[in-house]
């Protein structure tokens, strides 16, 4: 059986694509580079939108990327059920593309913040979180200046009542996100966006202490193999 193929998107200004591809490979899947200027998803089974400062964060984080040729292919594919994970700038792009509701705004403390953050897993029914247990606390790095999740009251209520808040900051809230939200999913559970970086927590030697990020990649692999 051939390995599952996970696309890793590079926009101009994407920074964590190398880490994302490594995390995919370490989990036993094939990492397929996807280029922003191509109208081509290369037949991948899932897509990872990594962090960075795509298009220099000009205008607004993710606002330009969402119009790129690759995204015009990805948006309908995701709506049709293709599993997509967006971390950090990838999460911002998913929100700008209206694949996920709400927006990420400047951190409450106004500073960029890089630290190892305690996160609580709230939903294990998504394509990317089935290998966690509900209520499990994990440590993942966060590193962002604009990660404060906001949405209107109706959207927040809907996210909460339908269990679409996937991750919440535990311990302390680093950026002022409403309801301590660190990550959310769409109704179908195939699209997940979060500010923390699972791809920086997959090896003992490097990155964050611990390997709590591996669960994202083992989850999606199980899903793809069983599909």
């Amino acid at each position: 059986m051939s390995a599952a193929r996970v696309g890793v998107v590079t926009f101009p200004g994407t920074l964590d694509d190398q880490d994302a591809a490594r995390a995919v490979r370490l989990a036993g899947a094939e990492a397929v580079p996807l280029w922003h200027a191509d109208h081509d998803l290369k037949g991948v089974d899932a897509v990872f939108l990594p962090g960075g400062f795509s298009y220099g964060d000009y205008l607004r984080c993710g606002a330009i990327s969402r119009f790129s040729p690759l995204m015009t292919e990805l948006i309908p594919a995701a709506r049709a059920g293709l599993p997509v994970l967006g971390t950090c700038n990838g999460f911002q792009i998913l929100c700008e593309a209206h694949l996920l509701p709400g927006a990420l705004t400047r951190n409450e403390g106004l500073h960029y913040i890089c630290r190892d953050q305690l996160i609580r897993v709230e939903n294990t029914r998504t394509a990317w979180t089935s290998d966690f247990t509900e209520g499990q606390e994990i440590v993942l790095p966060i590193k962002h200046g604009e990660g404060r999740y906001v949405a209107d009251a109706a959207t927040l209520a809907e996210l909460e009542s339908t269990g679409r808040v996937v991750f919440r900051y535990a311990g302390s809230n680093p950026n002022g996100s409403l309801n301590d939200i660190a990550g959310i999913t769409n109704e179908a559970g195939n699209i997940v966006g979060l500010m923390p970086h699972p791809e920086h927590a997959v090896e003992e030697l490097t990155g964050a202490p611990g390997v709590d990020g591996r669960g994202f990649f083992t989850s999606i692999l199980k899903r793809l193999v069983n599909a």
Binding site: P12, L15, Q18, G56, H111, C114, K143, E203
Partner: protein
């Protein structure tokens, strides 16, 4: 637009020229006239004035810096030494590392955010121009007193500038320093280091060989920023008019720089670059003269072809502009289409502006008329060289005589420890470092607050040859020590960086330095400079680590008051198996705690004298380089044999601070007894060549034997464990209390 052409210069030999306003001395201007056999055109004057500025020509420091070459230890690792954009060292398995530290002090005072940001951008382009992928940055920062009002303006801006630019580039920031002292209030020091990686056989050099080859300017368009920056900003002492100079600070665009990095790496991979140079200080002037001087010797450039952001720029301004994110490459005519296609892929503008010739002349035209016609070497390499007068500072003897012996000693050592631990210099730097991305690219093995940053090599570039190796980097400096004795102060800076690399298990290999001083026209400053260089060159020879490059920053003074002489030294080391890296501090309970090295009563320039008494006098700790070398041998061998569970170097604040930091690393306490009777000396003396290690009980004998073999004193202090730092019979402090005091040091002031 009236253009001063060569023809016009010949016709109007007596026209008065504003050379003095451009920072040139009378005799320097006369020398230009002699070289050219006529008066220079205004464009030529622009070139000579920037290329012969202190910043670009090293005219005051050159005679001293030669010692780094003449006294250099034999090193098989050195592939490219001083004089190129950055030095390159062989790190084994076909890999090479290139690294350099550079100052951006004056711009960071005038406009902290952009000044610091463009400092990062500049050093990253230096590393790129060697053919390397930049893989990490570090910053060595010095500010005025933490409680002085202007520090609240400068520090947040500098940190934000580094954070914004470095984070957008996707380079992990793995360490550095943050130091406060009132002497830096009008002259903060922003020294940025970058390290890059390349295959040993793929080094690129700044050279323009091969007549007919094309000269390509690529990257950002040229604008009016930083015009005159090189000579006016970096070389002029601040008085009160610094606001008038604000437009001279360059503005950076890290997004363009990130594209430029990826674009350059693809150009190297496609092998379409013959020579390459980044555009930093003195912009097009510097790049064209240096490339031409090191190549076949000639170059023709049509300045009308330089893409402009501001179409009203005059040719002199184009030559002097310090617009960021630009590079210049020499490319074979047949490779131009491939070169342009790669630039287009990355949305990087690229323009052929000229070609290499064999005439020995750098010729530039504007609207078809020749406006520059000079031998490029005279601007690039044959600038003035000064043997400035030196004089030991008038107060030096009195300063050295006023030792710390007279200071009253504390009775409550617990309180002293907490006071020091919560002081701005020894407190947690997390307020600063949490604004930097230390994880990006996924190869960070160690980062601050570890003693040195460490990176894995094998995963840095996809598809490249596997290796178990890693590199470690540390920067250190101590202005107070150097003020008391610049010779040994510089040696102590090197010793500390060398030790910080060794405690991680890496073998120190090579050195870069950033020499921050006052005005070279002051003989007392020049004495400090010459002593520091002599000390550093001697120490490099003794420790067997060559200087590969660096940077001199003069005129760090306000009025007649100079900063403390501040040589900052960066050391790069190699670890054969990066998985054997030694983590910082106490990593588990139940480990034996050992102190390696000799403790003497040494309080001159110490943190204790500084924080508790506001005193600076006497002599700094002895720089015992043989002892440093022996200690490093013990540490690297013990690490390679897997004997060490944790380590930490002793420096500012002595054993007391080292123990506290070791406890804070993982929240593991310890119970220790002191190696000598005088508890105050044992805890707070700053004797060099010491380190703290923790080992499994069964490894104790092996480490003790290793120490005996290298004649390194080794004291068993006690055991790790518990939730407090306990020094038997002296003090007991819960780790939680240590953490609160340590963590609050900077937020208390800057939040």
């Amino acid at each position: 637009m009236n253009i001063d052409t060569v023809r016009r210069a010949q016709e109007t030999p007596d026209e008065r020229q504003p050379y003095a306003e451009l920072g040139m001395k009378d005799d320097e201007y006369q020398r230009v006239r002699e070289i050219l056999g006529r008066r220079p055109t205004s464009a030529e004057l622009a070139i000579y004035s920037v290329m012969w500025s202190e910043h670009c020509s090293y005219k005051s420091s050159k005679v001293h810096l030669r010692q780094f070459a003449t006294k250099a230890p034999k090193s098989e690792a050195l592939l490219v030494g001083m004089g190129e954009n950055a030095g390159v060292v062989d790190i084994g398995d076909g890999w090479a590392a290139t690294f350099k530290i550079e100052s951006h002090n004056h711009p960071s005072y005038v406009e902290p955010h952009q000044g610091a940001a463009t400092g990062v951008g500049g050093i990253v382009r230096d590393i790129m121009s060697m053919g390397a992928r930049p893989i990490a940055v570090m910053d060595s920062l010095r500010f005025g007193g933490a409680d002085q009002p202007d520090t609240r303006r400068v520090l947040p801006g500098v940190v934000e500038g580094i954070s914004h630019y470095g984070n957008c580039l996707g380079l992990p920031n793995i360490g550095g320093e943050v130091v406060f002292d009132p002497c830096y209030i009008g002259n903060p020091l922003v020294n940025a280091l970058c390290v890059g990686l390349l295959r040993k056989d793929q080094i690129k050099l700044a050279t323009a060989p091969g007549p007919g080859n094309k000269v390509v300017l690529f990257g950002a368009r040229t604008g009016a920023d930083g015009i005159g920056g090189a000579s006016v900003l970096a070389s002029a002492t601040f008085e009160d008019e610094s606001h008038a100079k604000r437009p001279a600070v360059q503005v950076g665009d890290p997004f363009m720089e990130k594209l430029l990095i990826e674009c350059c790496l693809e150009l190297y991979q496609a092998d379409v670059v013959v020579g390459i140079q980044d555009l930093g200080a003195a912009g097009v002037s510097c790049a064209t003269t240096e490339l031409a001087a090191k190549g076949t010797g000639g170059m023709e450039v049509n300045l009308n072809l330089v893409p402009l952001r501001d179409p009203t720029l005059r040719p002199e301004e184009i030559l002097m502009s310090e617009s960021q994110e630009r590079m210049m490459a020499v490319v074979k005519p047949d490779d131009i289409p491939a070169f342009m296609a790669i630039c287009e892929k990355w949305d990087v503008p690229a323009t052929v502006i000229g070609e290499v010739t064999d005439t020995g002349r750098l010729v530039m035209t504007w609207d078809g008329e020749v406006i520059v016609d000079i031998p490029p070497g005279t601007a690039a390499d044959e600038g003035p060289v000064y043997e400035r007068p030196l004089r030991e500072p008038a107060g030096q003897a009195a300063l050295n005589a006023d030792g710390p012996e007279r200071l009253p000693r504390p009775t409550d050592l617990r309180e002293t420890l907490l006071t020091l631990l919560g002081s701005p210099n020894l407190g947690s730097k997390e307020w600063v470092t949490s604004q930097y991305d230390r994880y990006v690219r996924g190869n960070t093995v160690l980062a601050q607050p570890a003693d040195a940053g460490m990176l894995r090599i094998s995963e840095t570039m996809p598809g490249a040859q596997e290796t178990t190796r890693g590199i470690a980097l540390a920067t250190d400096g101590n202005g107070r020590y150097a003020k008391l004795d610049p010779y040994s102060g510089a040696q102590l800076a090197l010793a500390e960086a060398y030790r910080n690399v060794a405690v991680t298990g890496a073998r120190p290999l090579a050195v870069t330095n950033c020499l921050n001083f006052g005005s070279p026209e002051d003989p007392e400053v020049m004495w400090q400079f010459s002593e520091a260089v002599r000390g550093l060159a001697d120490a490099c020879r003794t420790l067997g680590v060559p200087v590969t490059g660096g940077n001199v920053s003069f005129y760090n003074q306000t009025g007649s008051t100079a900063i403390h002489p501040t040589p900052v030294v960066g050391v790069l080391g190699v670890i054969d198996n990066v998985a054997q890296r030694v983590r910082s501090g106490f990593t588990a309970p139940g480990l034996r705690v050992l102190l390696l090295g000799e403790t003497r009563e040494e309080f001159g320039g110490s943190e204790w004298a500084h924080v508790v008494h506001g005193h600076l006098g006497g002599l700094p700790p002895r720089a015992d380089l043989e002892a440093e070398r022996a200690l490093a041998e013990v540490l690297t061998e013990a690490a390679a044999r897997g004997l060490l569970e944790g380590s930490h170097d002793l420096s500012d604040g002595g054993l007391a601070i080292a123990l506290a930091e070791a406890c804070l690393a993982q929240g593991v306490g310890c119970t220790v007894t002191l190696p000598i009777e005088d508890a105050f000396v044992a805890l707070f003396s700053e004797s060099a060549a010491r380190a703290l290690v923790c080992v499994r009980p069964e490894a104790f004998d092996a480490v003790a034997n290793l120490c005996a073999r290298h004649e390194v004193p080794c004291y068993g202090l006690g055991l790790t464990g518990g939730s407090a730092l306990t020094v038997e019979g002296v003090l007991e402090i819960p780790v939680e209390e240590l953490r609160e005091v340590h963590a609050a040091a900077l937020p208390r002031i800057f939040d």
